[in-house]
Symmetry: C2
Subunit: 334 residues, 2 copies
Amino acid sequence: MAIAGATGAVGQDIMQCLEQRDFPVGELRLLASARSVDRMLPFRGKDLLVQELTEQSFDGIDVALFSAGGSRSKQFAPAAVKAGAVVIDNSSAFRMDPDTPLVVPEINPEDLDKHQGIIANPNCSTIILVVPLWPLHKVNPIRRIVVSTYQAASGAGAKAMEELEQQTRDLLSGKDAHPTVFPHQIAFNLFSHNSPIVEDGYCEEEVKMVKETRKIFHDSSIRICPTTIRVPVMRAHAESVNIEFSRPMLPEEAREILASAPGVKLQDDPENNHFPMPLEASGQEDVLVGRIRKDLSDPNCLAMFICGDQLLKGAALNAVQIAEEMIKRNLFRA
Amino acid sequence: MAIAGATGAVGQDIMQCLEQRDFPVGELRLLASARSVDRMLPFRGKDLLVQELTEQSFDGIDVALFSAGGSRSKQFAPAAVKAGAVVIDNSSAFRMDPDTPLVVPEINPEDLDKHQGIIANPNCSTIILVVPLWPLHKVNPIRRIVVSTYQAASGAGAKAMEELEQQTRDLLSGKDAHPTVFPHQIAFNLFSHNSPIVEDGYCEEEVKMVKETRKIFHDSSIRICPTTIRVPVMRAHAESVNIEFSRPMLPEEAREILASAPGVKLQDDPENNHFPMPLEASGQEDVLVGRIRKDLSDPNCLAMFICGDQLLKGAALNAVQIAEEMIKRNLFRA
């Protein structure tokens, strides 16, 4: 196995997931850009040397988990496939390619069977949205989703998390904030997601949520209106979701479905005002769901609030689960 | 004039608004609970003594601005009215009372004419929502609003702002968070609004947004689905709003209407990814509006993101503007 982008926030969490889940790794090759080469990273009690990511990095590798940004995926994933590896790619490079399965194992594992060398891991905000929505959609098809996100700094990488911490320290000691990773101050502030505005006033992050949800659900008729916002939280995304179903669904029915849904944990305790929070979602594999209630403005709608670890289920964990599912389906070369 | 609750976050901002707007104050009587008595607060270059709020506090007072919590409003506002004062009350105590006007001066100033001694200032999240929505509603009646809030600590008072700051310091120096004002950690976290869940799974804050918007707009048919969330921001609230109109409205039309609407400032700059942010709304009188775009999921809907200073337009400023409007309408006793 190889990890391209091993020194990044997601790469580090991939290594942790592999350890914790006892994934049958064999040799682990850690790859990164030239400036991270020669660092040593611990894995299962040994220190592994980080090597430079090149087109020659993949000899003898059966599966390569990419998390080094879209341009590096485009540049090096074909070489990995050529060398015989299956690539599980965390970037947006191949997600909308019709030949590339876009997979959340709880939802569409069968799409893996048709892979042609590359599997795409969906965007974090998409994964966290679709995991709790899928079991509801199966029972009562979803027609429309209005979603507003509360996205953590981690989605922009380790440097963004450092910026949130350092900027907060600076402001608390009377210094000015100097944004470098984000376009605006993130400490004690929030702003529209920092991806470029591309279509009809929607930013890339929002377009991803729309297109990826449709592809994962195999349902291009679902209408989605997303608003993506960055908040000064470290590593878990939250989403306020309004769901229009084909017919009315009672909150009790949704709760019952979600209570036994894979990858979901109900956290819906009105008496103690205890609902999904980034603080409790961080480090958890499950997506937390709560505040499930009737939308009094439309009989076919439910409102809910969800929260999931952006680095785990939103990225690293889902990629490792894809690899596990491929082993189960016997999709790696011997 | 008297200010009941002068030492609180809103009371302090009321004093600042009175100074900055050259309000014709005459004598200013500062009132607070027993524990704040004998403090001195500066106003227009003089130090004023804080006196205890009692039923005898209002002799000779023409207008009393209350911002001391609902129970103190209920206890002392009737005494103020009896003494001949008009009460402008910032609490929720009288807002839904059919005899009490609930006023945003940009929207329904004529409701002031029917006052019977008490005027209610709406809840902060409501004010920030309705100021930009009203000019649109007048042109193309709004049928439904789906809104998710990003609410600052200031909404829970000065102590909550201190808690956000101190808790952030503690966490950054490796200490634990010890929430006392809020039920959960606020630093680097967010959670469902800390008001009790009262109706159909909705919390008090959300019920206020629904009922108050209908009362201010004099339109009980507007359907509203709010989700209110606290975020680690100091003093400005943000809201992600999805608006269903009676018929389609182009983003350009909404932008044109909002560009000249009172109390509103367009901040809608996709090229520079520059939209409403708490950092820039803080200290501003106007409500910032941006990210105005077609909702691709419904032809009658627009999406937008708004942001306003919770302590100013959300509370103190609106109360002072009500007093100004009453002077204009000659509604105070001579």
